[in-house]
Symmetry: C2
Subunit: 394 residues, 2 copies
């Protein structure tokens, strides 16, 4: 099957589109990335998404805004598919299935009291019915709620795909993905799905980007190649304090997001770093990511897993200084860019939702209970039937 | 197939559950209501739903609230299914499929500008993944968006089921459903789906209930059997003014909701009726429903449709005075309670979503473009796979 995977990350830059070819089932499942591109959001859409998502639980907005944004993001996803197909030189008619993650605007992995019930919840926008109607192809969407209904955190989901891609007969491997949040998947040699462990280690680029943006008054959105951090020195006292965040000590399974490391947290970091140079601020924020990842390996990766290789993916890989620091603080591990094993790091998540859509389409489970904390394996998401192609694609 | 249909109306009282047996396909499709019950919402849930739904577009709330409510309503729907199955004395294992409409918290049938795009949208809460996980049965949900993606208003959807139930070889029939909003489906003799016309006429019980609740300071929620209205006299001048609402003149297809006739509109009606007795207020609001329905028949039902019978459904049927007035103002039509033709009026909408789920499950369209205004027929909704039964049903 030729499957498109769509992902819109927490940074709300746009829509990643991966073209995958997937065949087989179970242990014989094979998935290959054929092409990839990113279609940016219009700036007003990005602002609207961030305003809704990047906020505490008491943010004020209107239900109209959420409902309308859901449909507009569906239209933008359909546009992105059309543009991607043109760029990939593949006709939409030759696409068998679409997997669309959507744009997360809320995620609460752990249950809390609400209206007299215990509830965790998650909310992704980007109406799949709009995508199916515009493209005429069946769409699998809403991947996270089912795992949460089964007691899981609905995240991380990519580990299942890491497992499929990276399991090795003799080598223990960790897949480390550095997006806004950093997550790791631990795959012992010859692992069965139940032996895989995965969790979010904490901030990836989220805090670094936030600090850079504020320290430069918005002139820079991120630390290109880590050049700022490379020139700075970490504020040790601040760093020690930041590393005492209770999230870092919590045992997996666990997942993190803007709730822990979003705007409010960046405010706190900025106030602790008051008076420091921009380079020192960048360095301290970068060290927070680096050392929280190191601590996660020290605390939660048992020796018996035999992890020797780390496959490195996500946008954070472009931060050369961050990668260099990771190699320094975890000297026993061999770091390999994800691209070298077949899937470019940028394309990883979008590719994952193509594979997960394929699983759902075939009635196969798509989450690792050992990663999400669910009570059992579940088939993820919902299926929107295809139909006549309503796009005027060439 | 044995299919459960779930509906939560705009009044947010609770969840209607219908048990239907559906067989065949196309012209041979046969659907029968086997049982029905209503499971009320806890009062705090009802309040939360009304607070979110019964509000203008600038209502302030949090995305957390919407996300959490979505999951809690999913849990409540699963509970309602469990209770209904016990009451119906049918094991959940013998249910083949569930159709869940969910709780509408926003509906904008006509397109408007949003973030630089034209968008209509709708938002139903009651996470289907939770229902599927708790019951182990496949769930069809999110019925409205696909029709809207195809240019329709996403409503009304019940007309398709009216058409299946009530088409007659010689008689032209209208199915009039009086819920919060009143809607009518016009089915000429021997009609094909394309010849059916359906639209919302305007307020059903929504304005009457709102007026009664305010006029009695909350002691009464509705006019039982219409006894208050029966004792009152209509304020003719106010009535004429209310009947000039532009909605009544707009040509079908059209759909109405709280946006037009909700709390704000009731405020206006109350201020126009200032000084009138409670009975006169009740009577005037009741006449608004009655005369707006009469006007709709006069304006939009062409003689060539040969409509002679009106099949009357919805909670408004219990308002005897309202029904009596309808018979008086439309003397040429023969009024028949929906219950007499096989489906109890209370059960109608829930039953409809069982039939529509069956259609989707079989890859068949479930909306009438002539009713919704869509450019073409579409398969409605999305399908959440079943799984192991996770309920501890007896």
């Amino acid at each position: 099957m030729r499957v498109l995977g769509l992902m819109s990350g927490t940074s709300a830059d746009g829509i990643d589109v991966a073209l995958a070819r997937v065949t087989g089932k179970g242990k014989k499942l094979r998935a290959q990335l054929e092409d990839f591109c990113t279609v940016p959001y219009p700036s007003e859409v990005r602002r609207a998404v961030l305003r809704i998502a990047n906020a505490g639980p008491n943010r004020i907005l209107s239900v109209a805004e959420i409902s309308q944004l859901n449909f507009v993001l569906g239209e933008l996803a359909a546009d992105a598919i059309q543009r991607a197909c043109r760029r990939f030189s593949v006709s939409l008619k030759r696409i068998d299935l679409i997997g669309s993650h959507g744009q997360t605007v809320y995620h609460r992995g752990r249950r809390g009291r609400f209206l007299g019930r215990q509830a965790a919840s998650t909310l992704q926008l980007g109406e799949a019915a709009v995508i199916a109607e515009r493209t005429g192809r069946p769409v699998v969407a809403n991947f996270r709620p089912r795992d949460m209904a089964a007691g899981g955190q609905g995240a991380p989901l990519v580990p299942f795909v890491d497992y499929l891609l990276y399991r090795h007969p003799r080598r223990g491997r960790a897949a480390l993905n550095i997006g806004g949040i950093a997550n790791v998947t631990l795959i012992p040699p010859l692992a069965s799905p139940g032996e895989v462990l995965a969790f979010d280690t904490g901030p990836g680029n989220m805090v670094v980007d936030g600090v850079i943006e504020r320290a430069t008054g918005g002139r820079q959105k991120f630390d290109r190649a880590g050049s700022l951090a490379a020139r700075g020195r970490p504020r040790e006292k601040v760093l020690r304090r930041l590393l005492r965040h209770p999230y870092f000590r919590r045992h997996p399974p666990k997942s993190a997001g803007r709730e822990q490391f979003g705007g409010k947290y960046v405010d706190k970091v900025m106030s602790l770093l008051k008076g420091a140079s921009t380079a020192d601020k960048a360095r301290t924020a970068t060290e927070l990511t680096v050392l929280s990842i190191r601590d996660a390996f020290d605390r939660f990766v048992p020796e018996r897993m035999g992890i020797r290789e780390v496959i490195l993916g996500g946008g954070g890989v472009r931060n050369k200084f961050l990668v260099q620091r990771l190699c320094e603080v975890l000297p026993a591990l061999n770091f390999i860019p994800a691209g070298e094993l077949g899937v470019d790091e940028k394309a990883k998540e979008a590719f994952a939702f193509a594979v997960l859509a394929y699983q759902t389409w075939n009635g196969e489970p798509g989450a690792l209970p050992s990663a999400t904390g669910a009570r059992h394996k579940v088939v993820l998401g919902c299926i929107v039937p295809g139909g006549k192609n309503q796009l005027s694609t060439a």
